[in-house]
Amino acid sequence: MTSAERTAVLDAELRRGYETFDGFILGERERAQAESNAAGSVSIGGDSGAGGGSDSPNQPQTLPQAGGTSQVAVASLPSASAPPSETFPPPEDIPSGRDDDVVARQLREAAMSEPDPELREALWEEYRKYTGISDSK
């Protein structure tokens, strides 16, 4: 195997690692943001507070083994320079975004952070069209 071939093999291995990592981190972020939103709407009296420590929903996911079969596309990822803002949960027919490519992910993020309900629904509609959800119905 030449040096170039060897590098190509290693590059492919690296990319597979990126895919696995991206899917894992995006899933974890989505979960963490949903929790953050929920925490924002909880009043003192409504939240028992103490003991919230070790519930299983708060535990991070585990990263699948490198070289797994995740289908998440390789993409340059947003470094999210804005501070965490309020997000809105996706409608029931929207699946988890683990298989989203970069465009779908951007549509999803835009929809989840859009406060105007009409605009938000329009963005979800775009997401459905793009990902083919509406076709499969």
Binding site: S3, R6, T7, L10, D11, E13, L14, G17, Y18, T20, F21, D22, F24, I25, E28, R29, A32, Q33, E35, S36, A39, G40, V42, S43, I44, D47, G49, A50, G51, G52, G53, S54, N58, Q59, P60, T62, L63, A66, S76, L77, S79, A80, S81, A82, P83, P84
Partner: protein
């Protein structure tokens, strides 16, 4: 004789005046907004800021404040306060990304370290140290803010943290220092050093030659890789992902801050009242002890040395008045103790609320960091193999 009587009554008057005299704390009522840089820097010249979890300052708590300071609350504040600072800096628009760092593994252009020196609802004091990725310290400065009850007004609290001014002042000082001292070529150097430090973390063999470190620990660029260096581009891809990991931890901190805010604000407001009462009672008790002791001593001198009945009687009156002042000093001290106990109870109540949240936050951050580090180890191995392949040694 008349002179001696005058002295006794003069002493009593001074004692009364001293005991009645009150100390006043100057409280800030002006709101300093965050300054936005008028000069719009291009994105490549914006410095990224990392904020470390603050030192809770438990080792620096004064003996006189030990009974009114709760260690666990300080630990919780050491995560709460830097998150508010990160939001303030981010909102200012003067910087690149601003993040609370889960550990010190990810090199950032600027790193802020803080120590909490005081936090009791009425006063907040922080020591802030700023340095850049080359290892040079920009400055260390102490910030102290004493707020008025107005800061806890519901209309104010909806808008800002009661101590928002302290974060605004830190943000404004940071901007001022950068504008006055850090020129564009230095910004480029700092940013490049951060990138090279990150590159060294993942591929030390390939990137070790680009940085030198002097005796003081300062980094200097010795050379630069080509901008289209394939290995550097892979490092940049990985760095994007490291920022994503840090962003995920920000979400954890955002949840934590939101969960802590209401009980913490409530504690601070109640703590404010108790702290103000306690300080006034302690000062009052001290003044009464001093004045009472002076009156007793003066009265005793007059009663024993007085040349006639009038001065001896005046002396006895002085002793009596002094004894009364001392007794009232003890009464004030007993009242102060009630407020100390109230503060302890309030602290315990908040501790029960926030301590599990701190543990949860730490657990999640450590678990995520561990998982991410495992992935990073694999990437480091792949990058090492790539470098070897490029050199033709594999």
């Amino acid at each position: 004789m008349r002179l001696q009587l005058h002295r006794i009554f003069g002493l009593l008057l001074i004692a009364c005046a001293v005991s009645a005299c009150a100390t006043h704390t100057v409280k800030s009522t002006t709101y300093t907004p965050v300054i936005q840089d008028s000069q719009n820097l291009p994105e490549e010249l914006l410095l990224d800021v990392g904020i470390a979890i603050f030192d809770p300052g438990i080792d620096e708590i004064k003996r006189s404040e030990e009974d009114t300071t709760n260690d666990q609350i300080r630990v919780a504040e050491a995560r709460y306060a830097p998150f508010l600072l990160s939001e303030t800096l981010q909102r200012s628009g003067n910087w690149g990304i601003v993040r609370l760092l889960p550990n010190n593994s990810s090199p950032m252009d600027i790193v802020i370290h803080g120590t909490i020196l005081q936090s009791n609802g009425e006063e907040m004091a922080l020591r802030i140290t700023v340095s850049d990725s080359t290892g040079r310290e920009w400055y260390t400065k102490e910030y102290d803010e004493v707020i008025s009850q107005f800061a806890y007004d519901p209309s104010q609290r909806q808008q800002n943290d009661p101590f928002q001014v302290i974060y605004n002042n830190i943000a404004n000082d940071l901007l001022e220092f950068r504008k006055a001292n850090i020129k564009e070529n230095r910004i480029v150097e700092i940013r490049t050093v951060s990138e090279m430090l990150f590159a060294q973390r993942f591929s030390p063999d390939a990137f070790s030659e680009y940085l030198t470190q002097d005796r003081r620990g300062y980094y200097t660029l010795a050379a630069l890789p080509a901008d289209n260096d394939p290995l550097l581009n892979r490092i940049r891809d990985i760095r994007e992902r490291d920022f994503m990991f840090i962003d995920t931890v920000q979400d954890y901190y955002a949840t934590y801050t939101r969960q802590m805010r209401l009980p913490y604000d409530s504690w601070r407001e109640q703590s404010y009242d108790e702290t103000v009462e306690l300080r006034e009672l302690r000062a009052s008790a001290k003044r009464r002890f001093l004045a009472g002791t002076a009156a007793v001593l003066g009265g005793l001198a007059a009663a024993t040395n007085g040349g006639n009945y009038a001065t001896q009687t005046g002396g006895a009156v002085g002793v009596g008045a002094g004894a009364y002042l001392i007794k009232s000093g003890f009464d004030k001290q007993a009242e102060a103790k009630i407020h100390v106990e109230a503060l302890e109870e309030l602290g315990q109540s908040l501790e029960n609320e926030v301590a599990p949240r701190v543990i949860n936050l730490e657990d999640r951050t450590i678990t995520l960091s561990g998982t991410v580090e495992e992935q990073y180890s694999q990437w480091k191995e792949i990058l090492a193999d790539m470098y070897a392949a490029e050199l033709g040694t594999l």
